[in-house]
Symmetry: C2
Subunit: 333 residues, 2 copies
């Protein structure tokens, strides 16, 4: 039996997460029992929601248990199977393969994927949970009309990457917010944003106003903090805000507030928080569209790849600080 | 020709509105021209939205012009008509009869009403704009299910009065927030709220928690300020907040904020601001239902009546401070 390696949650963060919150383990993984599938994870997806699950208390997902393997989506291949739905060599993605080299499952959370036209790891990125998140937020909450202005924060992140391209496909004007000139350049030149504003720039507020001369109709919020305050203050009448993530506030340093509720009243705004796992009925349509776009080369994205399971914690902590550029992955082989 | 009396907006408030912001006028009103109708206003409605219109700048309605007659809904009777749709003696309501004894109009904003079963002034209260506001917020935004908890602030106000009764009719648990024990008693005993919490009580927060043991599913927000913060902090997953009014913040003293946007994300809340005049398609259904309930004695409400147009400013300023008990009216005869 192969030797499994990975990380469990050792302790809950006090403020910002640190490497000491994770504990490495090595342990032989058992053979599949009746109905079980043994998957060798090839790619681990690192996503901001994991930070929320490290905390205790009421959140939208059950808190990650101490001493349990860190949750995480993974793409891999079947290496042993007692489940008639899967055979050895099948490429699969799992919503919870976990931060580990192997996972043993009953196959219920496992989906076969066809990586003949797109690389396998795309199925935990633009063709997986982050891509569907962008699709749902855009099509089920924001519903931009042609000519409207859609703003996305973390514009080059796993979700924002797809938001801009889908917004453009709907005929909207896409305005990105990203950290640094390099990311902004990529957002415009590769992802097709009409314009991208660097929130680290000293004149960010002024630049953002110039970038949204007609105000903001739709705000796809991934970050929170100061950029959220600025973008939300420029909402037009009947504007919509999809609250997808607030990564700036996950470590307790900066609370994101909506300072004046009169804005909601006077502009008749609609603000909605959402979790993509609660829009299961939309996944097939979203994935069909996204895979179609990717297969014909019409969907662009970028990856930041950490090598080896040992580097998962540092890559994760870096992502929380915005050090990734595009989808953050860990290559496990 | 009769002598018209009323108030124009003399100046814009700096902070809290005062009587000096209004100027009394007396002026003969002309005879109706071709197609025009002369209405004698019998009841003037005083509503919080008027305060917003006294300010300059972008709001949901055009700013009230200086030296123009104060805007306001009114119920009255036709005293002269050159419009074939109206004859002398018709009882009518107008969305902008104004703070005055007579109004001369082209009839486009005028609606005939039948006051044989309900008193005329109800058509500017529970059977008019405030009642339809309650209906729209409840049926188009909050959509409470049976058993869910609906909280309404200003529970005995013109809107809150109707919110509670409609929520109960949908099988929801109705929790009111009102200022003082007398209003709370009325909310429960007459309006049918399951419970009402006095926001002026020293132990308001504790009482409110006890009154909402299962959290809050729907919040019909009329007031803002501290009660809003408390109620919004107790929202359940998939909770809805209809932002109808924020009277606590209209005079600049207390800004209403949503302190932690993570709440919106973690609980997947939907927050929507709305203005009843933008739901015109819903008015006929809403009014039919409300008039039906009132005609059969199933809809309760209470009025605070100021006597004489001269007292309109003081009654209005008192209402902004919550001194009214139920619908604030001015009796003009």
């Amino acid at each position: 039996m192969p030797l499994n390696k990975g990380f469990v949650l050792a302790s809950r963060p006090q403020g910002a997460a640190t490497e000491s919150n994770f504990r490495f383990f090595e342990k032989e993984i058992g053979a599949p029992g009746p109905g079980q599938v043994l998957v060798r994870n090839l790619w681990l997806s690192l996503d901001p929601y994991m930070r929320g699950r490290m905390d205790e208390g009421k959140s939208y997902a059950a808190s990650q248990a101490i001493d349990e393997v860190m949750v995480g989506g993974a793409a891999g291949e079947v290496v042993a199977s007692n489940n008639e739905k899967f055979k050895v060599g099948d490429k699969v993605v799992s919503a919870n393969g976990g931060w580990q080299l192997y996972s043993l499952t009953d196959g219920k959370m496992l989906n076969k994927v066809d990586d003949s036209k797109v690389p396998l790891q795309a199925f935990v990125g633009p063709l997986g949970m982050p891509g569907v998140t962008a699709w749902v937020g855009l099509n089920r909450i924001l519903t931009p009309k042609a000519g409207e202005t859609v703003v996305a924060s973390a514009a080059t992140g796993a979700v924002g990457t797809v938001v801009g391209q889908l917004a453009k496909a709907r005929g909207a004007r896409a305005v990105g917010i990203a950290g640094g000139p390099e990311k902004c350049k990529f957002a415009v030149e590769e992802l097709g944003y009409d314009i991208c504003v660097d929130h680290k720039a000293a004149d960010f507020a002024e630049q953002f106003k110039k970038a949204t001369p007609n105000g903001v109709d739709c705000l796809f919020e991934n970050v929170g903090g100061t950029p959220f305050k600025l973008a939300s203050s420029r909402m037009n009448d009947f504007g919509r805000i999809a609250v997808c993530g607030l990564i700036a506030s996950y470590e307790g340093a900066e609370r994101t507030s909506l300072d004046d509720m009169r804005l909601v009243l006077v502009r008749r705004l609609k603000i909605q928080g959402f979790i993509v796992s609660e829009f299961l009925a939309d996944w097939p349509q979203a994935l069909t569209e996204l895979i179609g776009l990717a297969s014909s080369g019409k969907l662009k994205w970028r990856e930041t790849i950490a090598e080896g399971i040992e580097n998962a914690p540092s890559a994760f902590l870096g992502m929380l600080k915005g050090r990734n550029f595009g989808k953050q992955l860990v290559k496990l082989t």
